[in-house]
């Protein structure tokens, strides 16, 4: 990402604290490195960043607009504010919007207690949802021999789309439809079980932050995700090069 492959070292301020960073790092990476908490859902280390969930919005001095930490590259003497009342309000509101969008019922979810959405909501202190629930009707695709896709729990973070395309190289997943009608699909909107391109590797299931993708045969709260393979894989691939 650095221009001409030359990496510089910057010093910047995060919440008033001086930190150092390499010019190929994002604000989010530097914040995490220095243990500043920034909530994320669409971001996953090892996948490309798309800035879609808008939870990692931060304030950068001199910038009129809020910027997503995951796609903003660091620069010299940058001043970042990771948390204040306004940002906390926006983050909570964004999470509430996610909860209102589809049918997220933790008590009957395979990912209960292993869910990133649930974790973040607890962490940010969400105790009720002020926007009305939309209660859309979505089907469940259980045609795959090992996995289940439940659109009702999907938050459209598109981690599955990216991991399948960027890491597995199969590109089984994509998004169809626009706006509130958007949903993830397998192949050309065919049942997952009939997707010839699917290698059944299960990467999509393991990177899914919620219960939308799960393993068959798991009951409530039984599906833990193992996304640890991703940093391992990307590190190994880098070594090879």
């Amino acid at each position: 990402m650095a221009a001409n492959g030359q990496i510089k070292i910057f010093t910047l301020k995060i919440d008033g604290k001086d930190v150092s960073a390499r010019s190929d790092q994002t604000v989010l990476q530097v914040c995490r490195e220095n243990e500043f908490f920034i909530p994320t859902l669409c971001h996953l280390e090892g996948l490309s960043n798309i800035g879609a969930c808008r939870l990692c919005m931060v304030e950068v001095a001199g910038q009129r607009k809020l910027l997503p930490a995951c796609t903003t590259m660091v620069s010299e003497a940058m001043e970042v504010t990771t948390t204040n009342d306004k940002l906390a309000h926006y983050r909570k509101m964004t999470l509430e919007l996610i909860f209102s969008e589809r049918n997220h019922t933790c008590s009957v979810c395979v990912s209960n207690n292993h869910c990133e959405l649930q974790f973040l909501s607890q962490k940010l202190g969400i105790n009720h949802i002020r926007v009305p629930y939309r209660f859309p009707k979505f089907a469940v695709d259980a045609s795959h021999p090992y996995f289940i896709l439940d659109h009702n729990r999907c938050i459209l973070c598109t981690r599955c789309v990216r991991v399948c395309d960027e890491i597995e190289g199969a590109h089984v997943w994509d998004v169809s439809g626009r706006g509130i009608q958007a949903k993830v699909i397998t192949e050309l909107n065919q049942p997952w079980g009939s997707a010839d391109t699917c290698t059944q590797c299960g990467k999509c299931v393991n990177v899914c932050p919620v219960g939308a993708l799960s393993e068959k045969g798991r009951s409530v709260a039984e599906n833990t995700k193992r996304s640890g393979f991703l940093p391992y894989l990307t590190a190994r691939r880098k070594e090879k090069i």
Partner: protein
């Protein structure tokens, strides 16, 4: 192509024109075309043949004459006598009155304020030349700007000219064009692209379509000049598939320019090469957003990505890319031909030149107009637009499409430029102007635009995808008089979140119609709350 050949074509055209006594112009842009203008053209040709005048009188289809409400329009030149609502059955009115003649029922006063108050730069050839003949464009000094640039100016001089002219992007944002060009010109890389954004999608806006249909070569010339200035050799025109006539005329224009050596290799005998291809949009409004447009040209799903990096640094296929709107490119050739100082003398302090507006809604003269920046809304709507039909009362004017806002009567005297409209909570936008009378309800207006934004959201980021749907649902509650005070608070809160956290311009500006109607017409929202309370 050389300068001599260019002048030869121009002289040839002028000679041909001088051999004809008169010429009859029939508007064949989409508005008039939809009302059978082609049949009018054929009928007039037939009638002239019958009268044995075919040799003396030239008949041609031309681009948009502006007053779409009264189409199909026909004019007799050089005296500029205009006729309105001509159809094959009454086409004889034109051919019978070639010589002065008596007044007919379909006469249209060409000296009315609608025509006289306009200042034409972008649309100077609209309604004058046949858009499917490159020779006519050349006859009106077409491609002279490109020649001047290639032979007399270096790249930096072109950019400096643009900066001096004060031209700002006409797609809506109003970013200084010269600054954008200089950024791309300075970007590192041997491969650069020029893109013309013709994905005009605002409801009620049709400026770009008219320019493309009426004067396509102007865009090609503007793009070629831009390509020279920034060091690009390849260009794309991204035009929505809903504009078939514009697409077919662009294709004709590109072919003609290539045949004449005005596009391709070694243009005007220099080392400058430039090719243009067309890409069709598949009907997504969000593809007018530059990063989504680039994704769409690359063959991906048309969704925006966060900026920076801006396309000027990393655009199409990761290369430095210049994206300008149709109207911006249409301004380039005149600026080069007539000089930056001339252009900078028109308009206001911060906004130079003219702006094309599409007047629509409850206004007498629906159509396309071009006025200098700084004209007041009142002049535009009442003098040029002819006011509200049926003697009804003016209520508000909506500018800037779904990203814009509604401006009430008390601000009608404000001078229109980028800053003044933004201050009022609206935007200049691409130039749609929808006039509303006392019968329109502002909650319904806000709901209409929110429905548009909801269904045109790409679905990538949460605030825009879910937020617009939630706002729409609340507005529906207001429309059905089910809303409460709490809904109003939530509405304002949601607008704030969507505006400040959405990924691209579509989401960030989508609450504008709601916010501006809340600002100026809050009582209409309150009425609907109170009605509910009363029922209980």
């Amino acid at each position: 192509m050389t300068l001599e050949e260019l002048q030869e074509i121009k002289a040839g055209e002028e000679l041909a024109r001088s051999q004809k006594k008169k010429s009859i112009h029939v508007c064949v842009a989409a508005g008039c075309m939809s009302q059978n203008a082609e049949a009018v053209l054929n009928t007039i040709e037939g009638q002239l043949k019958e009268k044995g005048l075919a040799k003396e009188i030239d008949v041609k289809g031309v681009g948009c004459m502006g007053l779409c409400a009264a189409g199909p329009l026909v004019s007799i030149e050089p005296e500029n006598r205009m006729f309105q609502e001509i159809n094959p059955a009454n086409a004889f009115l034109v051919t019978d009155n070639l010589e002065k003649g008596k007044k007919t029922t379909n006469d249209l006063a060409s000296d009315s304020p609608f025509f006289k108050r306009q200042y034409k730069i972008v649309t100077e050839n609209c309604g004058v030349i046949n858009p499917e003949r490159i020779e006519e464009y050349i006859a009106f000094d077409g491609y002279l700007g490109l020649y001047t640039v290639l032979h007399d100016l270096d790249q930096n001089e072109v950019v400096q000219n643009l900066i001096k002219s004060g031209l700002r992007g006409r797609g809506g944002g109003g970013y200084p064009t010269g600054l954008k060009w200089s950024t791309v010109a300075k970007a590192v890389g041997s491969k650069k692209y020029v893109i013309c954004n013709a994905d005009e999608g605002d409801p009620g806006a049709f400026m770009d379509r008219s320019v493309l249909e009426s004067d396509p070569h102007r865009i090609l010339e503007g793009m070629a000049i831009a390509a020279y200035a920034i060091g690009a050799d390849e260009g794309f025109i991204y035009v929505r598939a809903e504009y078939p006539l514009a697409i077919s005329r662009l294709k004709v224009a590109i072919k003609q320019a290539e045949r004449k050596g005005l596009l391709g290799n070694n243009i005007f005998g220099t080392t400058f090469n430039f090719t243009i291809s067309i890409r069709l949009g598949a009907g997504a409004f969000v593809c007018g957003e530059e990063t989504a447009l680039i994704a769409s040209i690359e063959g991906g799903r048309g969704t925006p990505r966060p900026r920076p990096p801006y396309p000027a640094e990393s655009g199409l296929w990761g290369k430095p890319t210049l994206i300008n709107n149709v109207e911006t490119f249409a301004n380039i050739a005149p600026i080069i031909r007539k000089g930056a100082d001339w252009y900078a003398s028109i308009g206001t302090e911060t906004s130079k030149g003219t702006k094309v507006f599409a007047l629509a809604g409850q206004v007498v003269n629906t159509g396309l107009i071009e006025v200098p920046m700084g004209m007041s809304l009142r002049e535009i709507i009442f003098d040029i637009g002819g006011g509200i039909p049926g003697g009804r009362k003016f209520k508000a004017v909506q500018t800037g499409g779904p990203s814009g806002g509604c401006i009430p009567e008390e601000f009608l005297d404000i001078k229109v430029d980028y800053e003044s409209l933004t201050k009022l909570g609206s935007i200049m936008g691409s130039g749609g102007m929808i006039v509303m009378d006392e019968n329109s309800n502002m909650v319904d207006v806000a709901r209409y635009f929110m429905e548009f934004c909801m269904s045109e959201s790409c679905g990538k980021c949460v605030p825009c995808r879910v937020g617009t749907a939630q706002i729409y649902d609340i507005l529906t509650k207001f429309a059905e008089r089910r809303a409460t005070e709490a809904d109003l608070t939530l509405l304002e809160e949601l607008c704030d979140v969507v505006r400040n956290t959405s990924l691209c311009g579509l989401g960030q500006s989508s609450p504008n119609p709601v916010l501006s109607t809340l600002k100026y017409f809050k009582h209409e929202y309150m009425e609907r709350i109170q009605a509910e309370v009363n029922q209980e």
